[in-house]
Each structure stands twice: as structure tokens, then as C-alpha cells.
Subunit: 217 residues, 2 copies
């Protein structure tokens, strides 16, 4: 039995989501920094931990590896107040966490990354397409929150943790959050949760265009 370990990149919101939940759960863990722009996810050793070569990866106390930020959130939240105990509500959490990966990330997440590291300019066709997609996603999320305090079951859960990750930095993708009143109020509710912290770092100087493998392609 060893300690819980997190293979982690400081500037990734997918990694931050897991760090946030671990802080809120007060779970001790060893943080193992992975510099994706220095090629550290491209080694054979890393592929043995995670063939998808993404961050984060959780290593459990038995030395087993779990990739996919939202799978990690669900695993850590199991049997805690961060995941509903009722099966249908749990499934709703999964539903929102899948949507986060398929719709939130490729739009505002992928755009933010590309703008910040200089792979896209705001006027590029692909940037415009991602921005429009992001605005549609934010509208859908905002409409849901018009009726609900949190995404599932009227209480804070890992559905909120997951969606918060990239939505709270949508402004860095050049998206104006002003029209999304319910979302802005929800962001503040998340920030008022016990144990909330934010240690998401900006991309480092070596995050140059073309350096490393893209996070989102």
C-alpha cells in the first residue's frame, strides 16, 4: 500500500478539477508534476500508465492507474457527499460529465488553449467556430441553471466540479460571460463551497505553438 498519487499538469483545468476535489475531500496525495510541453507524456513509461497520454492520471494505493479527469472525479467522489447516492441522480452526474468532455472542452477549452499558446488567432475560422460552439454550450448550461442551484440534485456534486473547470476560464477563450447570468451566479456559488481553492496556473513560456502534443486534437 502506497499513497494516492496524481500525475498532474499545473496549467490543465482537467488536472485542476481533480486537485479541487481532493482538497475538498481533504484527501492527502502525492503530486507528480508532468510537463506536457517538455514531452513527458510521450515516453513509453507514461504510455504504460496511460496509453491516451493525457493528464491527469490517478494512481491508487494499490498502484493501479486511472486516466480521464471525470472518471477520477467519479471514483474519488464515490460514497461521499460529492456524488448523489440515488442511482438516477448519479447517472445525471455522469451525463453532465460526459457532456463536459464532448462539448465544453472542444469549444471553450480547446479555444482557450489555442489562443493562449498562439496556435490560433481570434479571427481564424477554427477560432470563430469554436467560439460559436462555446456560446451555444454556455446558453444550454445557463438555461439549465435557470431552474437549478447546481447541476444535479440541488446540491454541489462532481458534476459542478467538472463543469467549473473550463467554464470558469471561458473568458480566456475570448467569450463574454455577461449574457450568462445564471452561470455567473453558479460560478460564485461554487467558489463559496467549503474547501474551495484555485491553483490553476497560466501556461508556461515553453507552451509554444507546435511544442508538445496538442491537448485537444
Amino acid at each position: 500500500m502506497s499513497q494516492l498519487r496524481l500525475y498532474d499538469y499545473v496549467a490543465s483545468a482537467n488536472c485542476y478539477k481533480v486537485r479541487l476535489l481532493l482538497a475538498q475531500l481533504k484527501r492527502p496525495y502525492e503530486r507528480i508534476p508532468v510537463d506536457i510541453f517538455a514531452g513527458e507524456t510521450l515516453t513509453d513509461d507514461y504510455a504504460a500508465k496511460n496509453p491516451m497520454r493525457t493528464t491527469p492520471v490517478l494512481e491508487d494505493e494499490d498502484g493501479r492507474f486511472l486516466p480521464e479527469s471525470n472518471a477520477i472525479l467519479l471514483y474519488l467522489a464515490d460514497s461521499t457527499p460529492f456524488l448523489p447516492s440515488e442511482a438516477f441522480e448519479r447517472a445525471q452526474v455522469v451525463r453532465w460529465l460526459i457532456y463536459e468532455q464532448t462539448d465544453v472542452i472542444p469549444t471553450m477549452g480547446g479555444l482557450r488553449f489555442r489562443l493562449l499558446v498562439g496556435r490560433l488567432a481570434a479571427s481564424d475560422d477554427d477560432a470563430i467556430r469554436r467560439k460559436q460552439g462555446g456560446e451555444e454550450v454556455l446558453r444550454l448550461l445557463d438555461d439549465h441553471l435557470a431552474q437549478h442551484e447546481f447541476f444535479v440534485g440541488e446540491r454541489y456534486s462532481v458534476a459542478d466540479v467538472g463543469i467549473y473547470g473550463y467554464v470558469h476560464v471561458a473568458g480566456e477563450a475570448g467569450i463574454d460571460m455577461q449574457p450568462y447570468e445564471n452561470l455567473r451566479a453558479w460560478l460564485e456559488r461554487v467558489q463559496r463551497q467549503p474547501g474551495y481553492m484555485n491553483d490553476l496556473e497560466p501556461y508556461p513560456p515553453n507552451a509554444a505553438p507546435g511544442a508538445g502534443r496538442s491537448l485537444y486534437d
Copy 2:
């Protein structure tokens, strides 16, 4: 209490995945056909069931709605032999089901759809990009199956049901399955499972380029 209902499109592999599991679980349900190409997901009534406007949607016995095929699979499989009882293995199932949505579907799933309804020709840049991405995904899946009979826990689970959906028709995306020996053997193992059936239908004549909302954009 009413019956379990599935809002379902016959030619969608996302819907077929749920029909397959329901058949294997021997769960009775009412099937409500949704003709996406006739605009039936674009109504206000449909948005009230699923604001993402995707198929399938499950309606439970209490009249609650659950979108996202893989969230539905996890919900239906809960406390059955189709989902591991051990928490870490359950998380691995979630991990593969998220990967299916983020990597399997936009590549071979999206390409198959666009080729079959004529939105792309095989020589288009976007078709070539999706095909190459699909081949990378199939290589990763095949490598995993070199060491494992099934995706998680050495037994058939909803991870296999989910991945089977679009992988078993990757040939219709113009991808040659010959190099993926382990995947081909796994496809046969899936097909030998008790209760296996395949009622995935081809796209209908009204699935013309531009008709309806894209399944994958």
C-alpha cells in the same frame, strides 16, 4: 409508475448500444422512435426531455429523463453483472466510456455518418483527418486487448457494449480492420455473449446532406 421508455433512432449506434444492453438485461421497455432527419429532435417538446437534442434518451418509471447513451448504459447496468462491483474497476468502465465519446465517435463514428449520408467524400481533407484519427484510436484499443479479453476486469461489461457500438461498423467509415487482430477477436467475443443481437439499421433515404441537425458537430 409507468414503463421504462427509450427515445430511440434506429440507425444510431448510440441508440443501438442501449437496445443491446436492454436485450441482454431482458428489461422490458417501450420504444419511442425519433426521426432525427424529420426534425423530431428540434421541437420544444424534445428539448424539454433533452436540451442537447441528441438520441437516445431514457425515461425512467417515474417519468425522469436521462440523455447520453453511456450514462444510460451505466445507469441500467448498476448492480448487474454488466458493471463491476469494485469501485476502481467501475471507474475504469467510466474511463473507457468517456474515451468512446471523445475519441471513437468523432473519428470513425462521425466519418461513417458523413460518408453514408454524403456530407463528405473519402478524399476530403476532413475525411482523411478523421480516418487517421480513427486508425490511431483502433491501434490503442487493439493494444489494450492484446493483454485483455475484455476492456475491464476480464469480463464483458458496459465498457464493451459502449465501444462495440461504433467500432463494429468502422468498416463503413472506410477503415480496414485487418490490422487490428485483437479487436477483431474481441468483436467475435462480444457477438457470442448471451442475449447478443444486432438491430442497427442503415441510414434512411431522407438522411440527405444537410437534412436535420448533424449527429456529431
